[in-house]
């Protein structure tokens, strides 16, 4: 009984000590205050939400509100002063096809997003070159036999204009080639999920998607110029179809916003939660 009592007292003391020390740490970090509003890319949203959760634990006085709508709304919201951070799948401080540069905005790299070309499981083709893909998406190649498959019409599935995935895919996988709408065998989808379902259920279909979505047996990722779409190949530099995800800010970030971006870029977050969400740490890329 005496032993038990002693044990309880020790345990209680320990708990109080630990709590006190934690409170001390929190109090020390509490100097950081502020409100961060984040808007933009839905692809980066899971990463943003996870980072916000962890950051708010460290700095309870910082309020973070994050939402996703579409890549271009990120820099747009920053420009209008609605958001402090605009998440965007491309570097919006530079011109990309269809979108002009946002002047005075700084692009902060936060993650690496790999993309993959996917085809329906009935398609016999395993490898496509940049030229072949550009031909398919510009409507010059319309039959699978022209790229080494069976005699069947290619069904092209693409994302709507302005999608971050589309912007990046066009720049990296098609070598800047156009995506041209066609009378038939051409379909636009509104989200990554729709894209996956459409390619999975349409025979002879080709599409493109974030690499993390490539699961299941109804779709398969094809090699790009002979290189398989894997995170390892992205890191070692042989697979070229990937892009940085950016946090756009008006000028250089300051205060809580700066701290938050630095937290997302920190080794701890990059190698921990970010990897768990199947993004690739920016430090893994050479150049």
């Amino acid at each position: 009984m005496k032993l038990f009592k002693k044990f309880t007292v020790t345990a209680l003391t320990a708990v109080i000590a630990v709590t006190a020390s934690f409170a001390g740490v929190a109090a020390a970090a509490d100097t950081l205050k502020g409100k961060i509003t984040i808007n933009g890319s839905t692809a980066l949203l899971p990463l943003t939400l996870q980072a916000a959760k962890e950051f708010q634990k460290l700095h309870p006085k910082v309020k973070i509100a994050a939402s996703g709508k579409g890549s271009v709304t990120g820099p747009q919201a920053v420009k209008k002063g609605i958001a402090d951070i605009g998440a965007c799948d491309w570097d919006a401080s530079m011109d990309v096809p269809g979108f002009k540069a946002f002047d005075g905005q700084v692009a902060n790299k936060v993650a690496v997003i790999p993309f993959a070309t996917i085809v329906n499981k009935n398609v016999g083709v395993d490898n496509l070159t940049t030229a072949q893909l550009a031909g398919i998406y510009s409507g010059k190649i319309t039959n699978w036999k022209e790229v080494g498959g069976s005699d069947a019409n290619i069904v092209v599935i693409t994302r709507a204009f302005g999608s971050g995935t589309r912007v990046n895919y066009q720049a990296k996988a098609l070598g800047g080639g156009d995506i041209v709408k066609k009378e038939k065998n051409y379909k636009e989808t509104g989200s990554s999920g729709d894209m996956k379902t459409a390619v999975a259920t349409t025979p002879n279909a080709i599409g493109y998607i974030d690499l993390v979505y490539v699961t299941g047996s109804d779709i398969k990722a094809v090699k790009h110029n002979g290189v398989a779409a894997t995170t390892d190949n992205v890191i070692n530099g042989s697979y070229k179809v990937w892009a940085y995800g950016y946090y756009m800010t008006k000028g250089q970030p300051t205060g809580a916003t700066k701290e938050f971006i630095e937290y997302v870029q920190s080794k701890k977050f990059q190698n921990g939660s970010l990897k768990k969400l199947k993004f690739i740490p920016i430090a893994a890329m050479k150049g």
Binding site: K69, G70, S71, V72, T73, Q76, K80, G98, A152, N153, V155, A160, F161, G162, S163, K181, K182, E183, K184, N185, Y186, K187, E188, T189, G190, D194, T197, A198, T201, T202, P203, N204
Partner: protein, 314 residues
């Protein structure tokens, strides 16, 4: 309401206390009546106010478009290439109208037929089965219909037609028809049930067959209800977005055949609005398309109301 209550109150009192009690009750009733009248009045006023705001705000943004693009281009051009500043919405308008027409063409005969079956022909156990099933169908979210269309209907259409994709206004019309069917059917059903029994009895007494009774007596008598059922179904078909987006193909071009991947006003708005900059011509064009949808459903409702009234008079 006031008059019968008053006469009741004046007949009832025999003793003085009773009369006071009734008087109090009467006043309470009057107060309740007045209050509820005000409540209903303000409800309708609030509704009109909100509707007005919606029209004003969408319209305001929409009309900015015509400072940048000529109405002639917007309404008459079939070329929608907003990334190159070409905003012709005629294809969407025509597609919306033809999709709605096709949907009704499929849904109305089937659903009115089912309503007749439910109300006139089916035995009791069948009615008590069909009606709850139809009510359930209304509650299914439209995106689920769209997903089923994408994963079940499209592969089927591909097999039947030999098309590569199968997307187009036929697929969209089939999905929409299934969605509006319970609405049209249940409201027509109620309208048919509400036709007084004596009409049928009289027709039968004159020696009509059952088909004659249904076609010549019951359906004409229930016409008003059936028409409002069709209106409700149609407005749902015009405005439906999520289910259509998944099966129509989303390519901004005129639907020249049943299987041409195309786009309607709603599906084009939902596909593009999140990828478009605020305050751009493109955004204003999308608002104009929303405004147009509002006008289209308004005009369609108006036309059918006028038609319904004319036939009623004749």
């Amino acid at each position: 309401m006031g008059a019968p209550l008053q006469s009741l109150a004046s007949k009832a009192p025999k003793k003085a206390e009773h009369s006071i009690l009734n008087d109090k009750r009467h006043k309470r009733h009057l107060l309740g009546n007045t209050l509820s009248r005000y409540y209903f009045f303000f409800s309708i006023l609030a509704l009109c106010f909100v509707l007005g705001l919606v029209i004003v705000f969408i319209g305001k943004t929409a009309l900015l478009l015509f400072g940048e693009v000529s109405p002639a281009e917007f309404f008459l051009s079939f070329n929608w290439t907003p990334e190159e500043d070409i905003f012709g919405a005629a294809a969407f308008i025509v597609n919306t109208l033809s999709l709605t027409a096709l949907t009704l063409l499929i849904a109305v005969p089937v659903s009115v037929g089912m309503a007749v079956l439910c109300a006139e022909i089916a035995p009791k156990w069948m009615k008590s089965f069909i009606r709850p099933v139809l009510d359930l169908l209304v509650g299914i979210p439209s995106i689920v219909y769209g997903y089923l269309g994408l994963t079940v209907l499209l592969p089927f259409l591909r097999r039947v037609s030999g098309e590569g994709l199968g997307d187009g206004i036929l697929a969209a019309a089939l999905v929409l028809a299934l969605m509006v069917l319970p609405t049209i059917c249940r409201i027509s059903d109620d309208a048919i049930v509400a036709v007084p029994r004596k009409y049928r009895d009289a027709a039968y007494a004159l020696g009509s067959t059952r088909l004659q009774v249904i076609m010549r007596v019951v359906l004409p008598a229930a016409k008003r209800g059936i028409i409002s059922a069709i209106i409700l179904g149609m407005t749902r078909a015009v405005g439906e977005t999520m289910a259509v987006v998944m099966v129509i193909g989303n390519t901004p071009q005129l639907a020249k055949s049943l299987f041409t991947p195309s786009s309607v006003l709603t599906s084009n708005i939902v596909m593009q609005i999140s990828n478009v900059e605020f305050d751009s011509t493109w955004n204003h064009a999308l608002h104009m398309m929303a405004f147009l949808l509002l006008l289209i459903s308004f005009v369609l409702i108006l036309i059918i109301r006028v038609l319904g009234r004319k036939r009623e008079d004749a």
